[in-house]
Symmetry: C2
Subunit: 170 residues, 2 copies
């Protein structure tokens, strides 16, 4: 590490004019530990119902975009249809998701949460939002703005498009 960074503000080391490997490494570790926290609460709930993170992801995006198709979901989640199908199968069998044949295009299946599914989604996202809300409150509005900016810049372009399409109401 160069002596140059010795001039940065003591404790925090917030001088980001040059992005040292040190500072980048801290960001990497922050992502790692924060993601653990991010998933911890829903994970605990999912465990009690014999579901996993994969189910949560599917439920989240079906809730977010009711009537979305399977191939749409495949694109968002980035898994194979066999993998998704296994998860979707159990969700449908358990009465959390309803699959409806497309009226315009009969090959497509449009996915919806049932009332039961919506209730489950709510319990999962309530837990996740609670932590997010606490973090937002603790960090403040300016930090939240920066948080989102950095995350968006980290996404793969293709996924960023998905993200923005969702954001603007797909």
């Amino acid at each position: 590490m160069s002596q140059l960074s010795g001039t940065a503000t003591g404790g925090g080391g917030e001088n980001l004019l040059f992005l040292t490997d040190e500072q980048l490494r801290k960001g990497i570790e922050a992502m790692f530990f924060a993601y653990r926290g991010f998933t911890a609460d829903p994970d605990r709930i999912l465990e009690t119902m014999d579901y996993g993170r994969a189910h949560h992801r599917a439920v989240h995006f079906i809730h977010r975009s009711p009537g979305t198709t399977v191939s749409n979901l495949l694109g968002i989640l980035g898994v194979t249809k066999q993998s998704l199908n296994r998860v979707l199968r159990t969700l449908i069998d358990d009465g959390h998701v309803r699959s409806e044949k497309g009226r315009r295009d009969g090959r497509e299946r449009h996915l919806f949460l049932t009332e039961k599914g919506e209730a489950m989604e709510k319990s999962l996202s309530d837990a996740q939002r609670a932590r997010m809300r606490a973090a937002y409150r603790a960090a403040g509005p300016v930090a939240v703005q920066g948080f989102r900016q950095v995350l968006e810049a980290m996404m793969d372009p293709g996924l960023r498009d998905y993200y923005n399409r969702l954001r603007d109401g797909a």
Copy 2:
């Protein structure tokens, strides 16, 4: 969505005085998509060497804290010793990691990267840092500050302690 937020700045909707479920959901999705980007580059490299994310995590923290013990690593990674051992076993067999019996406490095993291991770590972290650096550059120093603040607030307290201990040089 209440009409009240209609007064927020047009495009961004950055009024975060009340944390709506909408805004929190965007943050949740941002975490999801960004984490995918975060792991994408190392994942591609790891694939070529028959390693997975688990190996990357182990290598990262051994590089970060050379001489760290197995139980230390267990605490940081939050997996069982059987799970970690499987990964560690292959890393040692492949000559990426060296395990050294403790001199003060002979029960402990201190873990180090070999030269080969350091080289691998560098190729992985170079890739990950490149994306992080680009994101930091794109978002700017203020955003980076906020990014870190929110992430830290999202961590579980126990993991936050680990994070800070690492941060301040363990």
